[in-house]
């Protein structure tokens, strides 16, 4: 169980982790498709690069974002003693 005075630092840490995970991810999600046309003249694995990045690339980025968030947030929970009991 988390100690009372640990709550504030825990939440500050969690907030930063949230921003660190979401801000880069959301900016890529919004900005990358806008440049897809310009990237399409390049090729990767036979794909037009813009299409490849907007489809496969974003899936990969999303999965990596969630996976890294899960492990980092879990580390934060344990560091502050905020983790579940089991």
């Amino acid at each position: 169980m988390i100690e009372r005075k640990e709550r504030k630092p825990y939440w500050r840490h969690t907030k930063w982790q949230m921003l660190a995970s979401l801000v880069p991810f959301l900016s890529v999600i919004i900005v990358l498709p806008l440049y897809a046309d310009r990237l399409n003249s390049n090729k990767f694995l036979g794909f037009p690069l813009g299409y490849f990045l907007a489809a496969h690339g974003l899936v990969l980025i999303a999965v990596i974002t969630v996976a890294s968030f899960v492990s980092q947030q879990d580390a934060i929970d344990h560091w502050h003693g905020a983790h579940e009991d089991n």
């Binding site: 988390i2 991810f25 498709p33 999303a62």
Partner: protein
């Protein structure tokens, strides 16, 4: 209590059970293939492919029978991350994803990504901003969460009524798509199929509520993934000699691009707010596949991504699934699985569209007089496509396709055995049922818990509580089925509007309820009502003088209005009391008791103290 650790509660034989289910499903497909070779009547085989899976789902659902309310409303809080993630991904993707998204990819290519990316990002935002906290709270429905979080019965009632609207829309849309698929298998009228599937849904869900939902959805998700991936993997092996369509459609796509350029398919520069998502009905291929922004303008692309994101992240038919995770950590992890599986599903949809375009473009590339190959006449005969102009040579615009038939056209175009078409259609039925079921159970629980029993915080003890939810489930399915049967709308539009409404009404309020301590019940009510009404107005009024946006982008107005209203009203009304502040602090910490259980216990104690 040492004996309630999460890992011990998980059924260790789940993998074996679903291995058995998958073997049964694959065996069914293979048996029909053998019988097809032996010359059994095609109609019998199609009926088998429709009814046998329905019986399997119903058997799983009835086998998960329970009277315990924790089992009924949260699947006992012991669904492992992978299964939870699969269920949430398939409930979000649904038949809308497999059937219509494939068609949209086929017709407008790249621009369809705005819908898929938005939903994918929705999972990421859900995992980071909402899921862990909602799991910690542990309420069975979203209105219950809001009501307890803000200690306001009015908020609970208002949110229950408002959120019922998008949930009915989702049930109707998914049920309709599943019924359209079932019509291909049975040949019966659509209304009969809606009735059949609604009955099958009721049978497989009524026995165990969330518990039945979880295990039937996992079965349906596995069935749908096998059924959709196998045919396209076979086609990919034929075309590119690699059975990984998601990664190998690149060279095919480039060949298509060359043909499109030779054909002179226009490079369209649409207005930045254009949102030309193809509707129901026959349509030619509108633009070059890999080119961005031919049908959807750049601004509309971003806005629809954000609207989808908010809608999926706060969907009241997906979020209750988190209460079934064994813990906060598992809830986060299940969204990781959901993101991965959703991504695979969306890439599969895109690859199906690419391979289908390849078949058409190959026809166009052949010089000389137009010869209709047998598979094309088969497609026309089945009503999946038409040949609009028969000149001396085929043009890219000579063919029109039904948006919702592109998925089924691929096995026909590749001249695969009839079994694979039946399998694909069965997959679409499964996906549609999974999504409709998730929404039906969520709506049923909302109707029973928050509307009928919503006047009191103390739910009835024992089986009465789950019986009420069974009644709610029946009403929810009946509502959804009647909308599907009698309201003439396009399913994709229905789902997009439902997501726009949900995101506008709920997203800001849910996020603020966790990340901003100062918000109070008045702010939440203001945010809900203003967001919902702005999005509702934009949806019903359609694009007009004050609103240049397509209804599906209503979130662009709704979400900011809702957030502003929530913040402004919260600031001018009294700050929340000490109990609520303490509650928020507890929501933010993963460890400790599940708050919903604690609140319910405190309510009971309070009642007892009042009595004596």
């Amino acid at each position: 209590m040492a004996f309630t650790t999460s890992t011990r509660m998980v059924n260790p034989r789940l993998g074996a059970y679903f291995g058995i289910f998958m073997s049964a499903f694959i065996a069914l497909a293979l048996v029909t293939l053998i019988l097809e070779g032996l010359g059994t009547e095609a109609k019998t085989l199609r009926y088998g492919m429709l009814f046998v899976p329905l019986v399997l789902y119903a058997a799983i659902g009835i086998g998960s029978y329970t009277l315990d309310s924790l089992d009924f409303f949260a699947a006992g809080r012991r669904v492992p991350a992978f299964f939870n993630g699969l269920a949430i991904a398939i409930a979000a993707f649904g038949a809308t994803g497999f059937v219509t998204l494939t068609g949209v990819f086929f017709i407008i290519g790249f621009d369809a990504l705005c819908l898929a990316i938005g939903a994918l990002a929705g999972f990421v935002v859900m995992a980071i901003m909402l899921a862990p906290f909602l799991r910690k709270f542990g309420a069975f429905t979203i209105p219950s969460y809001l009501g307890r979080r803000f200690d306001s019965r009015i908020l609970r009632m208002i949110s229950a009524i408002l959120l019922s609207v998008p949930m009915v829309m989702v049930i109707a849309a998914e049920l309709k798509l599943a019924a359209m698929a079932a019509v291909i298998l049975s040949g019966a009228p659509e209304k009969q199929m809606i009735l059949l599937l609604a009955t099958a849904m009721l049978l497989s869900l009524v026995a165990g509520g969330m518990r039945s939902l979880t295990w039937t959805t996992v079965a349906q998700g596995l069935a749908a993934l096998i059924a959709i991936v196998v045919p396209v993997a076979i086609v990919a092996t034929m075309v590119t000699s690699m059975p990984l369509p998601q990664l190998t459609h690149g060279p095919v796509l480039r060949a298509i691009g060359r043909n499109e350029a030779i054909q002179g398919l226009p490079i369209i520069l649409p207005p930045s707010l254009a949102f030309d998502i193809p509707g129901d009905g026959l349509q030619p291929m509108l633009k070059r596949f890999a080119d961005a922004f031919g049908a959807v303008g750049p601004v509309a692309f971003v806005l629809s991504t954000l609207t989808m994101l908010a809608g999926i992240a706060s969907a009241p038919w997906l979020l209750p699934r988190l209460a079934a995770a064994p813990g906060v950590y598992e809830a986060r992890k299940s969204l990781g699985w959901a993101t991965l599986l959703f991504g695979v599903a969306m890439l599969t949809s895109a690859s199906i569209a690419v391979f289908m375009r390849d078949f058409i473009m190959d026809l166009v590339a052949v010089p000389g007089p137009a010869i209709v190959p047998s598979w094309l006449s088969d497609l026309v005969l089945r009503g999946f496509a038409t040949i609009t102009e028969k000149g001396t040579q085929f043009q890219a615009t000579s063919f029109s396709f039904h948006r919702d038939s592109v998925l089924y056209s691929l096995p026909v175009a590749a001249q695969l055995p009839q079994m694979l078409l039946n399998l694909t259609v069965a997959g679409a039925v499964a996906a549609g049922l999974a999504a409709a079921s998730a929404s039906a159970v969520a709506l049923g629980n909302v109707l029973a818990e928050d509307v009928v029993l919503g006047a009191t915080w103390e739910p009835p003890q024992g089986a009465t509580r789950s019986h009420a939810a069974r009644g709610g489930l029946f009403v929810a399915i009946a509502l959804g089925a009647s909308v599907a049967a009698w309201v003439e709308t396009d399913s994709l539009r229905l789902v997009l509007s439902a997501l726009a409404l949900t995101g506008s009404a709920l997203f800001a309020v849910l996020v603020l309820s966790i990340w901003w301590k100062r918000i109070n019940a008045y702010g939440a009510i203001a945010g809900l009502i203003s967001g919902f009404s702005v999005a509702g107005l934009a949806t019903t009024a359609g694009p007009g003088a004050w609103n240049p946006l397509d209804p599906a982008l209503a979130g662009a107005f709704g979400i900011p209005v809702s957030a502003l209203a929530a913040v402004a009203v919260a600031l001018i009304t009294p700050a929340p009391g000490r109990h609520l502040l303490e509650l928020v602090r507890d929501i933010r910490v993963p460890g400790g008791e599940i708050l919903y259980d604690r609140e319910m216990r405190m309510q009971r104690l309070k009642k007892q103290r009042q009595r004596g």
